[in-house]
Structures are given as C-alpha cells and as structure tokens.
Amino acid sequence: MVTTTYMEAGRRALAEEMRRDPTVWALGEDLGRGGVFGQYAGMAEEFGPLRISDAPISEAAILGAAVGAALAGTRPVVEMRFADFALCAVDELVNQAAKARYMFGGQGGVPLVVREPMGMWRSSAAQHSQSLEAWYVHIPGLTVVAPATPGDNLRLLKAAIRSDDPVVYLEHKDLWGIEEELGADEPPGELGSARVVREGSDATVVSWSAMVHNVCEAAGELAEEGISVEVVDLRTLWPWDREAVLASVRRTGRLVVAHEAVLVGGFGAEVAATVSEALFGVLKAPVKRLGAPRVPIPYAKPLEDMLRVGPDAIAAAVRAQLLGPSPG
C-alpha cells in the first residue's frame, strides 16, 4: 500500500493509462512544467512533449482540438486548469463533443476527458471558485464525475479515460492534499456507482466531491447524539446511482442532499425530486437540500465562509428532520 494524495492519485491514473494505451495523451497550459497545481509533475519527462502537450492560452482551441483528436482515434485528456476557464470552451464541449456521437448516427464517439479543478479554495473569488456540475449533468452526451477521495480519483479517472464518451471530470481543489492508502494495482472504477461511506438507519445524507467530508464530520457528531446517519457519496453525477440512493432512503425514510454549488437549480434538486417521486409514501420528513445561496463567490474570507455548507448546517438539517424544526 502506498500513501497517496488526491492529486498524486490523478497523476498516477493518467500515467498508468498512458503506459497502457499509446493513444492516451494530455494537453493544456503549463503541462510541460507540471501543470498549475503540480498534477502533471514529472510527466513530460516520462512521456515527452507530444503526449504531455503544452498549449497556448486558447481554451477553445484546446477543447476543440481534443474533439477533433478524439474523433480521429486518440483519447485526449484536456486540462482546463480551473473549472471556470472551461467556460471559454463551452461551444466545443456542449455543441460539439457532447453531440457528435448522436448527431452523426453513432459513426464515431468523442472519448475525451475534461479535467476541471472546481470549488472554493482560499479566497479565489468569483472567477476561480465555481461548482458548475449541474450544468453539465443537464447536457445529454456528457458523463460527469466528481470524486471525493484519492482512491476514487485514481479509479474513476482511469474509468473516465477508458470511457468512449466525453467525461467532465471535476477534481476539487480543496482536496489535493488529502491522503489514502492505495494498492499497487488499482483497476478502473465503475462510472455511475455510488459508495455508502458510512451506514446508518435514521437518515440518508447524499453528497459528492469535497462535501462528502463535511457530511462525514456531521455524521460523526450526530452519532454521539445517538442519531445514525447513512452517508452516500454519489461519485458520478451522470450517470448517478439512483438505486443506491433509493435503497438507502427506503431504509432510513429521510433524505438530506448537500452540495457546495448554488442551491437553486443544483443537482440536489434532481436527487430530491427523484426520491420524492419514487418514495413519497416512505418519507418520514420532507426531503431537505443544502447548498450555497445564489450569489457569486466573494473574496473576503468571512463572506466566503458564509457560503460554505459546513458540518454544523448538515447536522442541523438532519436533527430537524428527526425532531422537526427547532424554535431558533
């Protein structure tokens, strides 16, 4: 077993896939010097500049070229540096990559991965902090992955690279340093399969990405109060593991969905609606969603902190489901 950070897990996944499959390559700004966060450290040395390719600051060209390269028989891994900059290439992703397979009647697919480091991170403010996963889930043709742990980052990035469809791969910047013991041989994970992080019987809390860690903290806190929480990490948002969530809520009768993204129109709404439709008769309390208020992300730390869905808010939501709204 090797102690592996979330960042190193991503690096390892890409390196192992590149060793296995000569058609896999990566492109993006500053990759030749390890990438902006160091996610590609040492890779140009191992694979050379053709397969770990630098790029001009040309997001539209980076993603557009990857679409072409994917249609023509390679598996590009696109680095977008910050999820926010992927917005400079939305046409290439949404109008081109996502639709090509269908529009062209299945003649060819677009097997590319777009790595988009997401989320709030040290006062990075409005243009370097966003969580936009719900947008992508809305687009037919795209697979959406948001791993919470080093192991999932390793296994799901491999699966994403092997996928024949375009995958939006959202790594959370706040998780780069977290560690996990990983085996020497880690096969690809399964896209669309959730993970029950912690079993419980009183309420189900669903989340993904960095939020999973806040949920686990809340669950620990609640356990001391005698409240048993089942924690479900979706891991992939499209496809998402409806069955795992429904099975859990069938047992607990209560659901809280928590995410870092803006609450309004967030993916929590999809989960909540699905559970309400399928399990109306089983629910012992109304489904509860937690997310950010609908404001751009501010720079000042105390304001940024107000946007965060922390363990306290999650615990309070679960308590309220069991006990009803608190008088405060």
Partner: protein, 332 residues
C-alpha cells in the same frame, strides 16, 4: 546619453510613481506571507514602466480595462493605495468592498473598469466600452491592457476586429513580459507576435521598449492623440520582463537563473534613476521617492490591517435587482 525629449522633472515624477507601484506590491507580498492578503496576487515587479508610461498618459475620464496583474495600472489610474490594500485584505472600504480581491480590483470613480480573472476577457469588453463612448459622443478613449499570453485567445482576434470595423477609440496595449504563467510565451505563439497580428487586422501597431518609462509614455501619448483625432484603434506592444514569479508564491524555478539575473540589471526603476542621476538629480531625491513610497504603503497596510471585515449583509448585496439571493436551505 542623448535624449531629445528628456524632461527631468517629468521623468523624476515617473520614477516616483514607479516606486509607488513597487512599494505597494512589495508590501502586498509581505502581507500575503503574513496571511493578511487572502487570495493569489500577481506582482508586476519589473513592469512598472508599462503602467506608468501607458496609464499615466491617460486622462482621468479615459477608461481602463486591466488584467490579473493590474495593481500598477489601477494605482496609476488614480485609485487609492489604502483602498486597494483593503481590497487585497478583503476588508470593508476596499475598492470592491472586499468582494473582489486583487484579481477583480476595479475603481469606477477613476474610470478603472476592472482587472480580470479570465485572460483575454477584457479585450472584447474594452471594444464594447469604446462603442459606448462613441454612442454617447464622448471624447475619451478606452485603454485595454493585456499580456503576451492573451493574444492566443479568441477574444484577441474578435475584439481587435470589432474595434477596427467600427473604428472605435481604443488603445490596445500588449504588456509583453515574455511569460504566460510558467510558459515562455514565444514557444506557444505562432508568427512574429502581437504587432503583426494587430496589423493583420488593420490596426497600426508600435513596438516600444517597455522598460523605458519615457519611451512608453511618449508612445502612449501619441497613440492616444491619434485615437482622439479619429484614427480608430491603435496598438502598443511594450516589451518588458516579469522579474518575479507568476504569482507571489511562484519561485519561477523553470526560468534560466542567469537570464533572470541579467534582467534584474534592466530594472526599469533603476534605469530611470540612472538617467536622472546622470543629469544631476541628487541621490537624496531618488532615495526620497523610494522612502515616501514605502511610507505611503506602510500606512496603507496599517490602515487595511485595522479595517473591519465587510458586514455580513454585503454577501447578499449587489447580486441583482430581482429575486432573493438568500434562497438556500441553510435554515428551517
């Protein structure tokens, strides 16, 4: 040293202003290390002649669009150093109330319409601002500053073409510091560079030594006059060098140390000082500029440090006029 247009008093003033920018950024870097500056900052150390030469040649009512590396531009446009320091500290009284930070600094009261966190995004915005000036019949210009890396983004082509076909009053300034983050920009740029691209779009382009503050100012002043006279957009390519890392925490280990050392010898502030010295300007005046700047920025730092955090209500202010931004399920 024969300089036809040498105006000692003016150069001395530019030397003083370059020192203000340098001192502001040195303070900000130190404050980042102390944890007082909250987010990433991109120092323009070594590029002060571009800021003073271009922005210092604008009128108060001219408009400015800047970049993530915009402290110098913003100071030169007339923003208060103390308000800027507050902004970098995320405090009340910052230019954006602490909600923007270094990368989104703006001061509309002095025509500074914003730094930008997205490379190249300011180019189309500048073209649009110039469009508005023309629609409103105003005799001012828009100055749009961007880096050498930005010329590889689509908006460079789209924005320059827009300004040309509508004959808009924009002065585009490519502040070429040779780097785009860790990338030597020329390795990722086809053709002969920014000026040729501007000219291909029908915009006259002028190259200038971006470390010679007087030369930059002369060029910017003349191009501004041409824009005002109705010649349409103009393009200035100011060649300088980024003396420190991409951000304040970047040690720039990917660079050739010898080249960096040589470039430090061409520090634009030292260069101006040398000219002044050669023409008899006293050492006390030169060091006085530095000391006054350091003192001004120390005071700005103290003020920012003592400033309160923004009121929590600020979180929900200025999102938009309609709808309730609080719509979140935090509370029951």
């Amino acid at each position: 040293m024969n300089r036809p247009n040498l105006d000692l008093e003016r150069l001395a003033d530019r030397h003083r202003r370059m020192h203000r920018i340098r001192a502001f950024e040195e303070r900000a870097v130190a404050a980042l290390e102390e944890g007082l500056v909250l987010g990433a900052i991109h120092p323009s150390i070594g590029q002060e002649a571009c800021a003073v030469g271009t922005v210092g040649s604008l009128a108060r009512d001219d408009l400015l669009l800047s970049t993530h590396r915009g402290h110098g531009h913003t100071l030169e446009k007339g923003a208060s150093a103390a308000a800027m320091m507050r902004e970098l500290f995320g405090r009340e009284g910052g230019n954006c109330g602490g909600k923007g930070g270094s990368m989104h600094i703006a001061d509309f009261s002095v025509g500074m319409l914003g730094a930008n966190g997205v490379v190249g995004a300011n180019i189309n915005i500048a073209a649009g601002a110039a469009h508005a000036l023309r629609l409103r019949g105003e005799r001012h210009i828009v100055c749009c500053i961007f880096g050498d890396g930005a010329i590889n983004r689509g908006p460079f082509l789209e924005g320059l073409n827009w300004a040309r076909v509508f004959d808009l009053p924009v002065l585009f300034v490519c502040e070429d510091n040779a780097y785009a983050a860790t990338t030597r920009t020329e390795t990722m740029t086809g053709g002969p560079g920014p000026a040729a691209r501007a000219e291909a779009l029908g915009i006259p382009a002028h190259a200038v030594d971006g470390n010679d503050v007087d030369r930059v100012a002369e060029a910017a002043t003349e191009l501004r006059e041409r824009v005002l006279a109705g010649a349409g957009p103009q393009f200035l390519w100011a060649k300088t060098w980024r003396l420190t890392g991409h951000t304040a925490v970047d040690k720039a280990a990917y660079r050739d140390a010898g080249e960096a050392a040589a470039r430090w010898k061409d520090d634009p502030i030292a260069r101006a000082a040398q000219t002044l010295r050669a023409h008899g300007v006293g050492e006390n005046i030169l060091s006085g500029h530095r000391e006054a700047a350091v003192e001004e920025m120390r005071a700005a730092y103290e003020e920012a440090k003592a400033a309160p955090w923004p009121e929590t209500a600020a979180l929900y202010a200025d999102v938009q006029d309609v709808g309730d931004p609080r719509e979140a399920a935090f509370r029951w």
